[in-house]
């Protein structure tokens, strides 16, 4: 480090001389002298240099390496990301292009929605068939449920549950 005498003799405003800066960062008396000439030197006097993180360098490095090992174990490290904004934007551009082209194509061809033809014929009526009426029924395995009529003289509903009955009955 240069002497205080050399510093005071050689110091000028806005100096970038590393020797001058080194001196002013280590000598309080010369800092006062320099600040009177160049106030900007006050903050320059803080200096960059190197600082030790809280807990020391060893603990810091251990913390970093622990996290690196955890990430490596979790297979996060060195796995190339499949997601990329470039890929996404390229896909979006392609999708927009295809959609736009399809719209233009249909517009130019004058494609319209054609309504179904209207006919005068009546709709086909379903071919309903009458099932045989069961007046009596006997079975040991059947379960017969009679639903009471909702009004006097109304239709009587009888439900028969029997597996031996024909399926279409």
């Amino acid at each position: 480090m240069i002497s205080c005498r050399d510093f005071r003799a050689g110091f000028t405003a806005a100096t970038a001389d590393p020797k001058m800066l080194e001196h002013v960062r280590g000598c309080d008396l010369c800092l006062d002298h320099a600040a009177a000439i160049d106030p900007d030197i006050v903050f320059r006097a803080i200096g960059g240099g190197e600082l030790v993180p809280p807990g020391g360098v060893d603990a810091f490095v251990d913390d970093v390496m622990r996290q690196v090992r955890v990430r490596s174990a979790a297979n996060v490290v060195n796995v190339p990301s499949r997601f990329s904004w470039r890929k996404l934007s390229a896909a979006a551009a392609m999708a927009a292009g295809v959609t736009g082209a399809a719209l233009v194509y249909h517009y130019e061809r004058g494609t319209r929605v054609i309504p179904p033809p209207v006919t005068d014929r009546p709709a086909v009526v379903a071919n309903l068939t009458t099932k045989p009426v069961v007046e009596t029924y006997e079975s040991e395995n059947a379960t017969i449920v009679e639903v009471p009529a909702s009004e006097p003289g109304g239709a009587q509903v009888v439900m028969i549950f029997d597996e031996s009955l024909p399926s279409d009955l």
């Binding site: 970038a16 590393p18 800066l21 309080d28 800092l31 006062d32 600040a35 009177a36 160049d38 106030p39 900007d40 006050v42 903050f43 320059r44 006097a45 803080i46 200096g47 960059g48 240099g49 190197e50 600082l51 030790v52 993180p53 809280p54 807990g55 360098v57 810091f60 490095v61 913390d63 970093v64 390496m65 996290q67 690196v68 090992r69 990430r71 490596s72 996060v76 490290v77 060195n78």
Partner: protein, 205 residues
Amino acid sequence: MAAVLRLMIPTKESVDPDDRQLVETIRGGDADAFELLVRRKTSKVYALCYRIIGNAEDAKDISQLVFLKLWENLGKYDAQYAFDTWLYRMVTNVAIDFMRNRQSRENAVNSNLRLVKTSSDPEQGVIVQRKEIETVFHEVSSVLSPKQKTIFVMNQMDDMPSSEIAKVLGCRESTVRNHLFNARKAMQQQLEKRFPEYSRLWRQR
């Protein structure tokens, strides 16, 4: 004679590999080499984070985050560029992001606070107290944008020329100079408001 010769021949252990060589070794899967790189860069990275952020614990967390990002992105490093420039870019990006998030949280709280110094005697000459300078700097620089503060720290404290800062931040040199000019101006105004005894230094100029 043989013993003397052995001492003169550099052994593998006695030669520190430079940063590029270390990176190549790490890419080959050597975690020990990465530990060596972290150990080598810790003090510098932490110092830069601390100057920008102004809080020791936050600076430590951000420094660790930088090294984790470094580990994950080492494959992207192009060896034709200086390693430190690439590393500083990572540091400044992470620190600036952190500052932006913190600023948005703190703006509402601190907007009306003003630090008033009571111990100074305006009649006496200003004696620069080295210990106070950092406190004053952190108070005064709180008005700077994260980018302005980063540029100011790299230029004024790390003695980095504007051309190098421009490379780190990926912007033009004129932009860096412009940020520096505005940062100085804003800090002088803040000194006037918060630390009138220090601002007299600037008025004397």
